[in-house]
């Protein structure tokens, strides 16, 4: 083969390889949406400080006044990858990356706060008391940090190199106990020092994404096995279970002895907390993914079908119906007489629960991404964790926005 034809062959071979690489990029590009866990942690407030999880897999904190100088970062959670290749899929706890960079661990549950616990020992050997912020990672690890010093990791569960299955469920702190569910369907109870409190975690029939709630010494949560469970908070023994028509990933609320919880069978259920019997049910237009919210005798249930229903808490009959122009997955919040609801297409609504005035108003339609994370309202300000590792705030009445970047500073 002469030089010319060899060059031509090389060029063609290069072309073939380039085409194959383009196919590869297209394939990975085609599925990029929903192929990487990102997380949808909400914001929690404790003593004038906000805590949330960034897209980088860190717990971050900032003063409620959003001062740059008050920002603080914990170490990033460590990704565990059992998949091969680029980590585009598989069981990698972080996002896909072909660059060799460590993928960030997704954090779905809102960090939880436990106050007045031992966070260390002083020079004389006396215990140092303080508060911890606890976070559940998609890597299957619970980590607790000292609230006023995020660089101090107080404990982790399980310790060392051990991991449990991925965690989507949020954490609930009640007294000196922490409750959370796992993707393997286990519901754990730890104390605030990170030690298991039940003889064994409770095994549900399938994954638990629902954040457990504690009311009247019962731990209540839903599972992918289509059931709602109530366990004895002290021992983990099952008190009752309630069957729905589909996966339950919604988190429950408890009010006056009744549990309200949604299901992917598009139904909101009201369940008697004492014995697990059904009080009423309401068939909505689409999945109920988000946690309902209670205000003045009315339960507000948002659906993935662009609607929010206001239902009489005692009978389940419709009192209000709002069209919010987008599916609702995030937990709504209450601000005065308004219910604040956010859609996965980036609209933030204030829904009037009274009979006077406009039925609903848009707080913003310009949120830079979809809103999946739970909303928090403190002092008439709505706090939203954005997908860009920023905390966004909106003044409820005026809609005035503010934002603070919570990305870990390069070179810090």
């Amino acid at each position: 083969m002469n030089l010319k034809s060899r060059k031509s062959l090389m060029a063609k071979a290069g072309l073939v390889i380039a085409i194959l690489l383009i196919i590869g990029m297209l394939l990975s590009g085609c599925v990029s949406q929903g192929m990487s866990p990102i997380g949808w942690s909400g914001v929690v407030e404790n003593n004038g400080t906000l805590y949330t999880a960034s897209k980088e897999g860190r717990v971050v904190s900032v003063s409620i006044k959003l001062e740059n100088s008050s920002r603080s970062w914990a170490e990033p959670l460590k990704a565990v990858s059992t998949g091969g290749g680029c980590g585009l899929g598989g069981t990698s706890s972080g996002g896909g990356s072909c660059s060799g960079a460590v993928a960030a661990v997704a954090i779905y549950g809102t960090p939880a706060i436990a106050n007045n616990i031992q966070v260390g020992i002083d020079d004389s050997g006396a215990p140092v008391m303080g508060s911890i912020v606890i976070v559940a990672g998609y890597n299957g690890k619970i980590q607790a940090y000292q609230t006023n010093n995020l660089s101090n990791k107080v404990w982790e569960y399980p310790s060392g190199g051990a991991y449990i299955s991925p965690l989507v469920s949020g954490l609930t702190v009640s007294g000196n106990r922490i409750y959370f569910g796992t993707n393997s369907g286990l519901l754990y109870c730890l104390d605030t020092l990170g030690k298991e409190k039940w003889s064994a975690p409770f095994q549900a029939g399938d994954q638990i994404w629902s954040t457990p709630i504690v009311d009247n010494d019962l731990v209540i949560f839903g599972s992918f096995d289509k059931k709602v469970y109530a366990l004895d908070a002290a021992t983990g023994a099952k008190k009752w279970e309630f069957a729905t028509g589909a996966t339950v990933m919604s988190t429950a609320i408890a009010q006056d002895g009744i549990i309200y919880i949604g299901s992917l069978d598009s139904t909101l259920y009201a369940i008697n907390e004492a014995d697990g019997s059904q009080v009423w049910d309401f068939k909505a237009d689409n999945w109920i993914w988000a946690r309902p919210v209670y205000l003045n005798g009315v339960v507000y249930a948002a659906t993935m079908g662009d609607k929010v229903y206001g239902l009489d808490a005692k009978s389940g009959s419709i009192i209000h119906e709002y069209a919010v122009e987008g599916p609702v997955a995030s937990w709504s919040a209450v601000a005065g007489n308004e219910v604040i609801a956010a859609t996965t297409n980036g609209k933030l609504w204030a829904l009037n629960t009274t009979e006077s005035g406009n039925k609903q108003r848009l707080v913003t339609s310009n949120f830079p991404s979809g809103i999946n994370s739970p909303l928090m309202v403190v002092d008439n300000i709505i706090y939203v964790n954005g997908l860009d590792s920023s905390i966004y705030t909106f003044e409820v009445t005026s809609g005035n926005p503010n934002k603070i970047d919570m990305k870990y500073p390069v070179g810090k």
């Binding site: 071979a13 590869g24 290749g85 996966t247």
Partner: protein
């Protein structure tokens, strides 16, 4: 949602979900079933494309001869190539058009599987916007991803290897090195190895539900390819260098093509060759394995879908 989602992706996802309901809520079986259904629906196009490709491959020796003959006259070469293709009933679009029609459907199926697998919480959230209201009652979501002990949302090394091997087999059957320009043959060799390696690599990275789709699709392609061209380069004789019974035929064929195209008479051609040779320009009737189309036509598969 954009046009692509509305026309292709959304229906595909809803069919997957509905089908899953009737196939024991098992997503593995659903992937296999839908892949086969779609491949069967597209079979006439696939066959058209394969026949066109095969004809084009069979013409390669003749085209090579023409290239030699008219190396210095590009215009004449182009004319002769056109004439040859016309006489043989071959057109470049015959290969490309069926492929172009099928490609979006394959991509949509691929995307639908990825979305329906809902490997991550965001995927499940994202999936909700694709489900029709009529499909909601059918939607037992997330789907049961366990298949033969594998979680289809996780990569599987076994399936990745099977994808690579099946793709190599398919590529090997498609490849036709005989009578080819060495440069084209080199490119074919690159494709033969690069495609399986790349798809094995993808399979190690993507959820194994996608690997299952690729595997079933490859197996289907191998079966169809076998019925159209036989084992091709994969035949044991060609693989292990046994006596090449067909090689003589090919040489004779090339020689006759040359003589036909140059208007000379073939003093050495036998009657047998005449029977098997150019028949109204339909030289492609003789496959890689030396079988004639009339010999193959006893195959019911070809009778149903049309052979050469």
């Amino acid at each position: 949602m954009n046009i692509w989602d509305i026309i292709l992706l959304q229906p595909m996802i809803n069919i997957l979900i509905a089908l899953s309901r009737f196939l024991f809520n098992n997503f593995g079986i659903t992937i296999i079933a839908l892949t086969l259904i779609i491949r069967f629906i597209l079979l006439p196009l696939t066959l058209k494309q394969l026949h066109a490709t095969k004809k084009m491959q069979d013409l390669q020796p003749k085209i090579a001869e023409l290239q030699k003959k008219y190396a210095k006259d590009k215009q004449m070469l182009a004319q002769e190539q056109m004439r040859l293709m016309k006489e043989s009933g071959v057109s470049a679009s015959g290969c490309a058009v069926p492929m172009l029609i099928q490609f979006p459907i394959w991509i949509a199926l691929y995307q639908a599987i990825i979305l329906a697998l809902a490997a991550y919480p965001e995927s499940l959230l994202n999936l909700s916007r694709y489900i029709y209201s009529w499909a909601l009652p059918l939607a037992v979501l997330p789907l049961n991803n366990t298949f033969l002990g594998m979680n289809l949302a996780d990569p599987s090394t076994i399936l990745a290897v099977l994808v690579g091997v099946s793709m190599w087999v398919q590529q090997k059957m498609v490849t036709n090195s005989e009578g080819q320009d060495p440069r084209v043959a080199q490119q074919s060799q690159i494709m033969l190895w690069m495609m399986p390696i790349m798809f094995t690599f993808f399979s190690l990275s993507f959820p194994s539900g996608l690997s299952l789709y690729w595997l079933i699709s490859n197996i289907f392609s191998v079966v169809v390819q076998y019925y159209v061209t036989g084992w091709g380069e994969l035949s044991l004789k060609k693989m292990w260098g046994g006596p090449k019974k067909d090689a003589g035929k090919d040489k004779d064929l090339q020689k006759r093509i040359y003589l036909e195209s140059s208007g000379k008479k073939d003093s050495t051609s036998s009657n047998t060759n005449r029977k098997e040779g150019l028949n109204n320009g339909k030289s492609a009737d003789i496959g890689q394995d030396g079988r004639r189309s009339d010999q193959k036509s006893s195959n019911p598969f070809k009778r149903w879908f049309g052979g050469n």
